[in-house]
């Protein structure tokens, strides 16, 4: 089928601001949007820049705005979106070039929530035990691939990039609800901050944007509730 791709291009070497560029190409209905971007880059315009690696939705490289919604380009097929297809970089992070944004602020927020297991008890020679029920409590939030689709879909984040954002809260949740971790208080203190979980206005954009199907808004609500239990 004939496809028209409209891509928001920006090259800091030559452009003052972004501009739309139109590309016409042939595609099969079951090709990925990422395949189309490759076709443009490989056979039409080699200067188009975007990130990608795994090509099947597990590495988190290629979150972008496709027809107005945050998605991974490698996870959406041509037949699932309407033609012409509009592609823009994710919002709220500085654009470096074309579809590539500066991820540093995003990873800085992630690092703020102490995203690692904290437990100073001597674990012994074997594994710490954890019941399947306890393990299940944080199953959903272990799935995060740090693609930033959730955070950059959040209207609060667009207006105030000091907001720590859904992805960081999801990663805090992953440890707060892990029975082996002992630092939930520390993390909850961090998330009580003015730029923490209570900035969330439950718009649910993050939940629909998550390519891993994580119940992001629910995780944020869990964390908010838990925050109220510490003093």
């Amino acid at each position: 089928m004939d496809i028209t791709l409209n891509i928001l291009r920006y090259n800091p070497d030559s452009d003052k601001r972004g501009h739309w560029e139109e590309y016409k190409l042939e595609a099969e209905p079951d090709e990925r949007i990422l395949d189309l971007l490759h076709k443009v880059k490989w056979f039409d315009d080699g200067s188009l820049s975007f990130r990608r690696s795994c090509a099947h939705g597990v590495c988190g490289s290629d979150a972008m705005v496709i027809n107005g919604e945050n998605m991974l380009a490698c996870q959406v097929l041509v037949k699932e979106v309407s033609n012409p297809i509009k592609i823009e970089p994710i919002r709220g992070l500085p654009v470096i070039k074309d579809l590539v944004v500066d991820m540093e602020p995003f990873f800085d927020s992630y690092k703020k929530v102490l995203p690692y297991l904290i437990n100073d008890d001597e674990p012994g020679e074997r594994e710490r035990l954890q019941s399947p029920e306890d393990r299940e409590k944080f199953e959903d939030t272990t799935k995060c691939i740090l693609c930033a689709a959730c955070t950059t879909s959040c209207p609060v984040f667009w207006t105030a990039d000091s907001y720590i954002g859904p992805a960081a809260i999801v990663n805090a949740h992953r440890f707060i609800y892990d029975s082996r971790d002992t630092a939930d208080k520390q993390r909850l203190e961090i998330l009580k901050d003015v730029n923490g979980a209570f900035r969330c206005r439950t718009a649910f954009n993050c939940t629909s944007a998550c390519p891993r199907g994580i119940q992001v808004t629910k995780a944020i609500e869990d964390v908010k509730r838990k925050t109220l239990t510490i003093n």
């Binding site: 820049s49 099947h56 939705g57 590495c59 470096i96 297991l117 799935k143 440890f175 892990d178």
Partner: protein, 580 residues
């Protein structure tokens, strides 16, 4: 283009499982930098699905010697047995350590780490399939990568994210550092470092249909090969039996570990004919060959008779949801079928490089076939060949390899750094790389010599001539094709002349590594006149222990490949016929 100089004691190239594990070991003892062309969490370790083996005996009796037996037998006796012993023995503590660092393994009712069956893993030296693979649903690699990265964050390890290393500096046979390209700016960074570990992962992109990421282009092995370091056992490339038809996206062996069955177009469970005892859980080389044979005999399904089915329909919705959530989602997303109700079209997909940079059991890189060591250079993970996988890796043994030998690489860096003094890198260290880049930026673009064109022909032809079944004829053919592609590569051009995120430039440089990987694969395969593990010659169908119980070492010799050989280190297990 700015040139910026840094000084470290040690540098780790790559932030997948192997690189991160090495970093955790080395960081407390030296000034260390981890340089990675992808954000660490984007590394392909995150794509690993099914599990990581260790004889924890959480489900049933097990012992690391049985694990070692299976690994050696699975390797078709090409693995070095002392190295296999280390892998299987250290597996147990490695898994426990990851758990202590927070890895959210799936759990048994009693709270212990859950374990599942996997291809080629047995109890009592072949008696029955073993429950040995520790897992976290079907996203074990994701959890390993996240956990190791989290640990590095907690330790404050220094990362250079989205910096691509493109040159290593070796003066008078001693390592001096590396030169990297900063992807966001186009600047060149010289990293002075006397210890360098390469953990750059595999090179599945030499084939058309692959489970590997676009970024798996053999950079580490390529860089060293171009400096005269040999590559070991390159003819042994693993094709995983169950890639999604045409796409190559992996459907883990865990699917069969949980009871999934392969069927041909008539619905027959054909593995019963090829491996009567463990059937669908035979090692990958055998299952991939069985599928290829079924297809060649006209038993493939579909209009072109070119795939078989992976049938999960009898497992039930609950097992699928609990144990195989991700891979069944891939099927829903990319094939639009419901695996709970319908069998899945699959075909073998290029998956894992058994070969790579030769190392000893301390992850030290060898510079020749007689075991000489290249001081200060280490490698671990899929880029390395210890060899613990020999001619065919067992599933779950790579996630193990990356942590066991990643740790050893880190330890070796510490030993080396603490017993040597800093040495400086000459001011013109970046010259070679700067020249290479300037040539590409200055040369006028000619679409005839574009990267995608040459790369596509490379991948198509490797798929055609150097895949599961090989012969003198196909390999000679491929040698000619590679020669032609190499000539055209000399004239390669790019259209993007910019400095910011110029991925076309990087793809051009990576293409040379892909050509190196292909040249060495084909030359080693052509020379090896036997069939062993993943290397199946239709013109030499038997394994030949008398002449070929040895590792190949492929050296760069101008545009040719020169081969030397090194004997396999045997141990407890005498080579015997591989029956399952």
């Amino acid at each position: 283009m700015k040139i910026i100089k840094h000084s470290f004691d040690g540098v780790i190239v790559g932030a997948g499982g192997a690189g991160l594990r090495a970093a955790i070991e080395a960081a407390p003892h030296m000034k260390l930098a981890v340089i990675t062309k992808l954000y660490p969490t984007r590394s392909h370790t995150g794509a690993a699905q099914g599990g990581m083996s260790a004889a924890l005996a959480n489900v049933e009796e097990d012992n690391w010697n049985w694990h070692a037996f299976d690994t050696v037998k699975g390797s078709d006796y090409l693995a070095d047995q002392p190295a296999v012993d280390i892998l299987c023995k250290e597996a147990i503590d490695s898994v426990i350590e990851l758990e202590h660092w927070g890895l959210p393994f799936s759990r048994l009712e009693n709270g212990k780490i859950a374990q599942r069956r996997f291809g080629g893993h047995t109890i009592k030296e072949g008696a029955a399939p073993a429950f040995r693979a520790c897992y976290a649903a079907d996203r074990t690699g994701h959890m390993i990568l996240q956990t190791l990265y989290q640990k590095c964050v907690s330790m404050g390890v220094t990362f250079f994210d989205e910096f691509q290393v493109l040159d290593i500096k070796i003066d008078d046979g001693i390592c001096k550092g590396v030169v990297a390209y900063e992807i966001a700016t186009g600047d060149i960074h010289i990293f002075e470092a006397r210890a360098v570990t390469f953990a750059t992962g595999g090179f599945g992109k030499i084939y058309k249909v692959s489970s590997n990421a676009h970024t798996l282009t053999g950079d580490g092995p390529g860089m060293l090969y171009q400096k005269g370091i040999p590559l070991e056992d390159m003819e042994f490339y693993q094709f995983h039996p169950t890639g999604i038809y045409r796409l190559g996206i992996l459907l883990s062996e865990a699917a069969r570990g949980e009871g999934g069955i392969l069927r041909n177009k008539d619905g027959e469970r054909f593995m019963e004919r090829y491996a009567p005892t463990i059937k669908d859980l035979a090692p990958r080389d055998m299952v991939s060959r069985a599928i290829a044979t079924e297809i060649n005999n006209g038993n493939g399904a579909g209009p072109k008779n070119d795939y078989v089915y992976l049938d999960l329909t009898h497992l039930g919705a609950e097992t699928i949801k609990q144990k195989l959530p991700d891979i069944t989602d891939f099927v829903r997303t990319y094939v639009k079928i419901e695996p709970i109700n319908e069998p899945i079209p699959v075909q073998p997909t290029a998956h894992y490089a058994m070969g790579g940079i030769p190392t000893d059991i301390y992850a030290r890189v060898l510079s020749d076939a007689s075991g000489s060591i290249l001081p200060g250079v280490y490698s671990a993970g899929e880029s390395a060949c210890v060899s613990v996988h020999g001619a065919n890796r067992l599933g779950t043994n790579s996630l193990l390899d990356i942590v066991v030998f990643g740790k050893r690489a880190g330890q070796s860096m510490v030993d080396y750094v603490s017993s040597t003094k800093p040495s400086s890198l000459s001011e013109n260290a970046a010259e070679e790389l700067v020249n290479k880049i300037e040539r590409l930026l200055e040369k006028e673009h000619n679409p005839e010599y574009s990267v995608p064109k040459i790369r596509e022909e490379l991948q198509d032809s490797m798929e055609e001539n150097a895949k599961i079944f090989r012969s003198d004829e196909t390999l000679n053919n491929q040698t000619k094709i590679l020669k032609n592609l190499r000539e055209r590569y000399q004239n390669v051009t790019i259209s993007d002349k910019g400095s910011v995120f110029n991925s076309e430039l990087l793809e051009a440089i990576e293409l040379e590594y892909l050509l190196d990987m292909s040249d060495t694969t084909v030359a080693s395969a052509l020379a090896r006149k036997e069939s062993r593990g993943a290397h199946s010659r239709i013109d030499h169908v038997e394994r030949d222990d008398k002449n070929w119980l040895k590792h190949s070492f492929a050296f760069k010799n101008g545009d040719e490949v020169k081969l030397k050989y090194k004997d396999v280190e045997l141990g407890k297990y005498e080579p015997m016929e591989r029956k399952y």
